[in-house]
């Protein structure tokens, strides 16, 4: 039992990492709480649902298109609702336009797909096997591998690709990056695109392993991403990974051993406690304010 919960928690943690990375990166660069993040990834996941269940596409092209749609939607939101407000305005303003964008996407998704919970098809054959004390389903196993693979690939992209390095520079200091000749606007568009796309991958993996999808999950996704990012230390890649893992595992343990209806309140309480003890998160650095 213990090991099963742990294994499942790690899988959920890996999925949460995919959802959190985009959120955390945007925050790292723009200090913007992107309220639309959850709704963007749910939109992409619903596109996947339509292509798979509605049109009966083969998973591979369907998932590709869904991931692209999530990425494109995220960059469009950035272009319409955030870009003009980036310079010199109070940050609260772009948070509110983010909320506005979230409302619009949520409403549009609701018009298309309705607000009931739909059943998402499994992507992998139902097959279980056991390692030691753990009983794993094939879906969990592949999901975990895929998620970890994408995370590793993305990490390599950030460290070695020119664009990835530009993203890291921008999150270090946006205005200095602009002075160094990094195309800031394009970099930010790409961050949004990648964040949305990774979120959709996470959303699809999550929906495929729980077999549910519904627009009400979007807002929870935003909160999960925010919570995980803060636990780990917002804005940092390793922080997003660590925070998501902690959240995924803790959530499953609380759900199984304590109470499933009080699961989310306990998680939030946990979050408040972490903020009280270490406001910058586990991997976060203290920002020193200079005058």
């Amino acid at each position: 039992m213990f090991f099963n919960v742990l294994a499942f928690g790690i899988m959920v943690g890996a999925i949460y990492t995919l959802i959190t990375i985009g959120y955390s990166m945007v925050y790292g660069i723009l200090r913007l709480m992107n309220f639309a993040h959850g709704d963007v990834y749910i939109f992409g996941t619903l596109v996947a649902w339509s292509l798979l269940s509605g049109y009966g596409w083969h998973p591979l092209p369907a998932l590709l298109i869904a991931v692209l749609s999530g990425g494109i939607l995220a960059s469009v939101v950035e272009f319409v609702a955030y870009r003009r407000l980036r310079a010199s305005q109070h940050r609260m303003i772009s948070m509110i336009t983010a909320l506005g964008a979230a409302y619009i996407i949520q409403n549009a998704s609701e018009l298309k797909w309705g607000n009931q919970v739909l059943s998402f098809p499994s992507l992998f054959p139902p097959y279980t096997f056991s390692i030691g004390h753990m009983t794993l389903s094939l879906t969990n196993f592949i999901t975990l591998l895929l998620a970890l693979g994408v995370i590793a690939g993305f990490h390599a992209f950030l460290k070695h690709h020119k664009m990835g390095k530009a993203i890291l520079c921008a999150s270090e200091d946006l205005s200095t990056s602009a002075l160094m000749g990094i195309p800031v606007n394009r970099t930010i568009s790409i961050v949004y695109f990648l964040g949305g796309a990774l979120g959709v991958i996470g959303g699809i993996l999550y929906s495929a392993s729980y077999n549910v999808i519904g627009i009400s999950m979007g807002f929870r996704g935003t909160i999960v991403a925010f919570t995980a990012a803060v636990i780990g230390g917002i804005g940092s890649f390793s922080g997003a990974f660590l925070g998501s893992m902690i959240l995924g595992v803790a959530e499953n343990f609380v759900g199984v051993y304590v109470s499933s209806s009080f699961r989310d309140p306990i998680i939030f309480l946990f979050l408040i406690l972490i903020l009280l003890v270490k406001p910058t998160g586990i991997m976060g650095e203290i920002e020193i304010k200079k005058v």
Binding site: Y27, R31, M33, V80, A81, R84, L85, S88, Q89, H90, R91, M92, I93, M95, I96, T97, L99, G100, A101, A102, Y103, I104, Q106, N107, A108, E110, L111, F219, I223, F226, T227, V230, I234, S261, F262, D264, P265, F268, L269, L271, I272, L275, L276, P279, T280, K289, V291
Partner: protein, 334 residues
């Protein structure tokens, strides 16, 4: 920026005990008084001229949100703290009144006072992290608190009634006079709104209010001026939440039921939107935001399925073209 203007206008410094004087105030006085009188008369006569209970009910809804948003403006507009858990304070007020009146036989006015008091106590407790946690992290604490409140209200069925909430809250009596219909509630709500406005007006134009503005403009500078910034922030948060508790209490007796669905994050966001659309940092501007958002919501009711989309578009459009809100002070900047 306003802080700088104050310093220019008041060479003795903004914390000296001199009332802040607006330039050109005298020329505006007459127009201002005329406008205020007209608005006051219109508000007083509203239920007499417009007999439609639907419209009076709409006004009651606006009054409830008006009280909340005036309080929120102290926190958001004057102190610069983004609190996304305001609906939870609204809810604490409502549940306190509901539980006291249905199960313990309390009268309305004692319940109202206790609701305000309890909300304040919770806000004070929640505000303590302000000593260490700032900005977005504080915002996250308020979101988390709001969600905890809502989820506990849903899950703790024995105490809060779960998703069904608490029903059958008795007719409230104010000094022996029962509030039975929309019009009764309208006048009582208007009185509370007026009291909210007046107390906040006194507060904002005091040393305390000026200290809050100083913190919003630059916390570090405020600190070096000798302001105990954490204390002022906690107090501002506590006082702002108090009004939400009062409004919640009124909501409970007005609706005669309370359910967790009244106090979701969506309501917190709606309050923030109302304050921001109206304009932050000007005392009465949130009321305009309440009016605009309520009227927009009602006008688009036939297009109910597109409602969120329309509200979202209004938010984005207003902020793209007037980032300080429709009536906000022009220089609200980082």
């Amino acid at each position: 920026m306003e802080q700088r203007q104050v310093l220019v206008a008041e060479p003795v410094g903004q914390f000296a005990d001199v009332r802040h004087r607006d330039k050109g105030r005298d020329t505006l006085t007459l127009a201002k008084y005329a406008a205020t009188t007209a608005v006051a008369a219109a508000l007083l006569l509203f239920p007499i001229i417009v007999k439609d209970p639907y419209l009076v009910g709409l006004m009651n809804f606006m009054i409830l949100f008006g009280i909340c948003c005036l309080g929120l403006n102290l926190v958001l507009g004057y102190t610069g703290l983004l609190s996304l858990g305001h609906a939870a304070f609204y809810g604490i007020g409502a549940y306190t009144t509901a539980i006291l009146m249905t199960r313990h036989g309390f009268g309305f006015l004692p319940s109202l006072a206790l609701s305000g008091g309890l909300t304040m106590a919770v806000a004070l407790f929640l505000g303590i992290p302000i000593r260490k946690v700032r900005g977005d992290y504080f915002c996250l604490i308020t979101i988390a608190f709001g969600e905890i409140f809502r989820l506990v209200a849903l899950a703790w069925i024995g105490f809060t009634g779960g998703a069904m909430g608490i029903v059958g809250i008795p007719v409230p009596k104010v000094l022996g006079y029962p509030l039975r219909n929309e019009t009764d509630f309208y006048y009582f709500g208007l009185l509370l709104l007026l009291l909210t406005y007046l107390t906040l007006h006194l507060l904002v134009h005091s040393r305390f209010g000026r200290a809050l503005v100083a913190i919003r403009e630059d916390e570090l500078a405020a600190q070096s001026m000798g302001i105990n910034t954490p204390l002022y922030m906690v107090l501002s948060f506590t006082i702002g939440s108090f009004y939400a508790g009062i409004a919640g209490s009124l909501l409970a007796v007005y609706q005669t039921t309370v359910t967790p669905s009244n106090f979701r994050l969506e309501e917190s966001c709606l309050m923030i939107i109302m304050v921001i659309v109206g304009g932050m940092g000007r005392l009465w501007a949130p009321l305009v935001g309440v009016l605009i958002m309520t009227v927009a919501t009602e006008l688009f009711r036939p297009l109910d399925q597109y409602r969120m989309m329309i509200i979202g578009s209004i938010m984005i459009a207003v902020l793209l073209f007037r980032p300080q809100g429709l009536l906000g002070i022009s220089s609200f900047g980082d």
